[in-house]
């Protein structure tokens, strides 16, 4: 089955990101296709490369990034939500005249249309949120 996954909460504060990550891993293991993972609301914070949790804790952003690399996943951060929360890729940072970017490898920033298109193209949409 083809899935689009929506992640609506940031890492650590809520379990949604962990659950989504585990769902995506399990779906891939069972041979399903993950068409896209779309990060919205505080979920965009799953795409920062500047998180440094304590060493005995998981690094969720890196886990998403590694999984994307391994399975060629399409991880999309909503641009409108990202702009509010200070998530920038190099292009967007330049466009906004900012002096830094902070997106981790494996994610890309794009519009809400990517979510709708994902839901149209996929058999199921699964939302992980509060």
């Amino acid at each position: 089955m083809k899935y689009t996954v929506m992640v609506n909460e940031g890492p650590y504060q809520h379990q949604s990101s962990d659950s989504a990550l585990q769902f995506v891993r399990a779906a891939l293991e069972k041979g399903h296709e993950i068409f896209r993972v779309f990060f919205y609301h505080d979920g965009v914070n799953n795409g920062t490369r500047l998180a440094v949790p304590p060493k005995d804790d998981r690094l969720l952003q890196q886990e998403w990034s590694d999984l994307a690399k391994e399975h060629d996943l399409d991880l999309v951060i909503c641009i409108a939500a990202a702009q509010r929360r200070g998530l920038m890729d190099p292009d967007e940072a330049k466009r906004q005249g900012l002096d830094a970017d902070n997106i981790i490898e494996g994610f890309r920033i794009s519009g809400l249309g990517q979510l709708i298109e994902g839901s149209i193209q996929s058999d199921r949409t699964i939302v992980f949120g509060d």
């Binding site: 609506n8 919205y40 609301h41 519009g111 809400l112 249309g113 709708i116 839901s119 149209i120 949120g129």
Partner: protein
């Protein structure tokens, strides 16, 4: 592109968190995709379409007028759960009179809000292809 039934489930109060505002932003973008769009208002979500919202004291944007514009995007199915209203001491009169213009009926203004029971809401939700929960 295939047409699917999209349901936006709004569960939270309009202010206090950003869910309602960002839900509405998805709805407006989605309108361009010509899908079958419905909105559900349950739990504190019913406050999102309450009349007379005023955010002067809290420094947040009052975006309630946007719900009135949904009809222009051919979004005219706003289901409101009766029990959620009652549990909060609200009636339909406490909600904004959101309407849409029916071009097949000489642009007559018709109500977009449909008050439904919890049981009816369950059936409506079951009938959708895609649910976004906010």
């Amino acid at each position: 592109m295939a047409t699917k039934k999209f349901m936006y489930v709004n569960r939270k109060a309009p202010y206090g968190t950003v869910y309602a505002l960002e839900s509405l932003e998805v709805v407006l973008i989605a309108a361009a995709f010509e899908q079958d769009v419905s909105l559900a208002f349950i739990d504190d979500g019913v406050y999102q379409i309450a009349k007379g919202q005023n955010t002067d004291g809290i420094g947040m944007k009052n975006f309630s007028a946007t719900y009135n514009a949904l009809g222009d995007y051919e979004i005219n199915k706003l289901y409101v759960e009766k029990e959620s209203l009652e549990e909060r001491g609200l009636t339909e009169d406490d909600l904004m009179p959101i309407v849409w213009e029916d071009e097949d009926d000489d642009w007559a203004e018709k109500p977009s809000i449909r008050i439904v029971s919890r049981a009816e809401m369950a059936d409506i939700l079951a009938d959708q292809d895609v649910h976004y929960s906010f």
